[in-house]
Symmetry: C2
Subunit: 140 residues, 2 copies
């Protein structure tokens, strides 16, 4: 697969589905594929109907998202106000989100989401104030 190393906008990538109906399917990523070290992995599950998460951006964190079940609609916005919408509806689809993108994540009923992150949790890397986020357009 292509690496996301120099990617500065969100991008959906379709992974191979290795296998078949009689033995199931595997999809995979290597750290060298995605272009960042996988320092932290988390997964969001047992979600209530109508859940929307996100509402933040990261200063430096890079992430790759996979919808394991159900579908997940992700809206991103950069500091210039450019919005994009993505729908992850299959475990072979991954979404790369670079730093400095606000995100809204809508879960379908019973959707679960896997996230591969380039760094450990660090509250100071979060931007949780939307107005402050938008004001960064003057800095970058």
């Amino acid at each position: 697969m292509e690496t996301f190393k120099s990617q500065t906008t969100p991008i959906v990538y379709k992974l191979d589905r290795i296998g078949g109906p009689e033995r199931g399917f595997i999809s995979l990523v290597n750290d060298y594929d995605i272009g960042f070290p996988i320092r932290r992995v988390y997964w969001i599950y047992d979600n209530p109907k109508g859940l929307v998460r996100g509402h933040h951006a990261h200063r430096t964190l890079q992430q790759v998202l996979v919808a394991f079940s159900g579908s997940v609609k992700i809206t991103t916005e950069n500091t210039s106000g450019d919005k994009e919408k993505f729908i992850l509806s299959n475990p072979s689809m991954v979404l790369f989100i670079p730093p400095l993108h606000w995100r809204w994540i809508d879960f379908s009923p019973n959707a679960s989401l896997l996230c591969l992150a380039s760094d450990e949790y660090n509250e100071s890397d979060y931007i949780r104030d939307y107005t402050k986020f938008k004001s960064l357009s003057n800095e970058v």
Copy 2:
């Protein structure tokens, strides 16, 4: 959580479930938690009923497994013939499998499995001949 760094036998560990019924749950691992770099991540999904995978051991690879949906029964055997059975039935349970453990993996209908692996794919790290695997007990 405890690290699996010096762990030489398979072990199930229960992660925190961060969240609640009104906003869903998150579970997570950091590379420093599990004690090995997460070089490769793969997931097994859209499995047929009655699927059994595995039937191999690894010379050096370390793995952490998570059942994302359904339940997954894993039987391991070391080179001395010691067998253990584990059932992953919740996304907050992880199973660490150290090197030199044969494994059989039984999937419930609609079960899916996440695997965090300490290295990239390397066919020479696989031991696929059970008789050869058992003969390693004389070497280690």
